[in-house]
């Protein structure tokens, strides 16, 4: 068995004096999508932010066997961690081209891949990102992460607030992206999670309560209902 790309052990984090996650353990295998699932407020987004060092945290985070939990955020990203944040966080006053140019770290950014995956976005290069629709902003956010040769992508709620057609488009783009880079995906939409993920990690009250193959998890309707508070059919 190959070593995981990302390994998290005993991760805890707080915002101010308020603990937001207490003990997260997870592994992201190479070449796969691993989905973090959980109810609202369980600590999914905080887990992603803690891995990146965007919030104060303790615990071990290893990227390809090397500890990164002592590094500042920009150094973690430079080691090959791409980030697609919840709510896109594109720079609204910059053009689409400027958003993409800002994200380019590699000497040979993968512009062809981005142009192939998001032709609509590339054609809107001179448009201010703040004037794009939510779905288009999500594409910009994904494109920023895919421009570089990352070891892993951390993708937080990419389909949140999108129309059904756009959800399908984003899921397809993620599927294509997963062919070139492993993804740790936070996703509330269980259809999307089931379609993309090979492995799931379930978080409850800031703790990992389940980890295992996605198919096995989604087939166990009782467990889905107990851990996520939804009927198993929601993931069909």
């Amino acid at each position: 068995m190959t070593a995981p790309v990302l390994r998290v052990v005993g991760l805890a984090a707080s915002i101010g004096s308020q603990p937001v996650i207490e003990r997260i353990d997870l592994e992201v295998p190479a070449g796969q999508v691993t989905a973090i699932l959980g109810r609202n407020g369980a600590g999914k987004t905080s887990t992603i932010k803690a891995i990146l060092g965007l919030i104060a945290r303790t615990g071990t985070v290893e990227l390809a066997g090397e500890r990164i939990d002592g590094l500042p955020t920009h150094r973690i990203v430079q080691r090959g961690v791409g980030y697609v944040p919840e709510d896109r966080e594109v720079f609204g006053s910059l053009t689409v081209s400027e958003n993409l140019r800002l994200a380019e770290r590699d000497t040979t950014p993968r512009r062809e891949l981005v142009a192939e995956l998001f032709p609509d976005i590339v054609s809107r290069g001179s448009q201010r990102a703040g004037t794009l629709s939510g779905g288009q902003q999500q594409m910009v956010s994904l494109a920023r992460a895919l421009l570089n040769d990352n070891r892993i992508l951390l993708v937080d709620e990419p389909t949140k607030g999108l129309a059904p057609k756009l959800v399908t488009e984003v899921a397809s783009a993620l599927e294509r992206a997963a062919a070139v880079v492993p993804i740790l995906l936070v996703e509330q939409n269980l259809h999307v999670a089931r379609r993309l993920a090979a492995h799931v990690v379930v978080i409850e009250s800031g703790r990992t309560v389940h980890s295992g193959p996605a198919a096995e998890f989604f087939d166990d309707e009782d467990r889905v209902a107990r851990l996520l508070g939804v009927h198993g059919e929601a993931a069909r």
């Binding site: 955020t73 720079f91 800002l102």
Partner: protein, 291 residues
């Protein structure tokens, strides 16, 4: 009519000075959230060293004025970058401590300048043309106003070009909008902080040299007296907005001149009232982003 023209051009000249100080303040606050009360000290030191340079070279020549401006810009940039690197960098997101450190630095440097150059103003000289006037629509305009306006316009254009066409400019514009996301793209935003401090310091340094020609003297209190209006301009224009700082500088300075002349010396009062109105009607300033 000639009085109106004179007040208008004088207001534009004073606005140019305010802009040179406020542009740095605005960018520094916009990117880093730092209220830099030491900004006036950058200006004052640059004014003194600029004057020393001009005096050493013969204060009456254009060459010495150009050298003074260059020394002023360099002094402001180095002092500001050093302040960021040595003092502010350790205090990001600790706003109370930032205020205490920058206020402390401002007070300490004024005392230092008092010790070096004395408390009395030092009257300065420059090229003869600056002391003369030009007839413009029946108004006799002191020539130094034209120099102030031209230099401030050049500085504005230079900063705009820098922000638009360089990698650091791109980082700064993005950082003003969302600093943590810039970091999450793998960019060490602290370098951009130092660059912004250096740019702001350079503009203040140029402002210091020009302020000494506008007022005719340089003194340890020069920076502090301009800083309060620069802060007002920064707030009215919108924290972090360069165009806002430029427009507000002109508005404030012209209002000040007209109110001083027509309303019995109430220029400062009118500026404060304008600030109050803007804060009530549009708290984020003319060009500021709503939080």
């Amino acid at each position: 009519m000639s009085t109106v023209i004179l007040l208008l051009v004088t207001g534009l000249g004073l606005g140019a000075l305010y802009f040179l100080v406020a542009s740095g303040l605005s960018l520094i606050y916009g990117l880093m959230g730092v209220l830099n009360f030491a900004h006036g000290s950058f200006l004052t030191l640059a004014a003194f060293l600029g004057w020393e340079t001009a005096r050493a070279l013969g204060a009456d020549s254009w060459g010495s004025l150009a050298a003074a401006l260059a020394v002023g810009a360099l002094t402001g940039a180095i002092f500001a970058a050093g302040t960021e690197f040595l003092l502010i960098r350790r205090l990001y997101n600790r706003h109370i401590e930032q205020v205490l450190v920058t206020v402390g630095l401002a007070l300490a440097t004024v005392a230092l300048f008092d010790g070096i150059w004395g408390t009395d103003p030092q009257f300065i000289r420059g090229p003869q043309w600056l002391a003369e006037t030009t007839l413009l629509l029946d108004a006799r305009i002191p020539n130094n106003r034209f120099l102030l306006i031209a230099v401030a316009a050049l500085v504005l254009v230079a900063i705009v070009l820098f922000l638009r066409f360089t990698r650091y400019g791109l980082i700064i514009r993005a950082g003003v909008e969302n600093r943590s996301m810039v970091t999450a793209l793998g960019i060490d935003v602290r370098r951009a902080f130092t660059v912004v401090f250096a740019i702001g310091g350079a503009a203040a340094g140029i402002g210091g040299v020009l302020a000494s020609h506008y007022f005719g003297y340089v003194s340890p209190q020069l920076g502090g007296s301009l800083l309060i209006f620069a802060f007002i301009v920064t707030v009215i224009g919108g924290l972090g907005s360069l165009p806002g700082a430029a427009l507000a500088s002109v508005l404030v300075a012209v209002l000040q001149q007209f109110a001083n002349f027509y309303l019995g010396g109430t220029g400062d009062l009118m500026v404060v009232l304008l600030l109050a109105v803007v804060l009530l009607v549009r708290p984020s300033g003319l060009f500021g982003r709503k939080s």
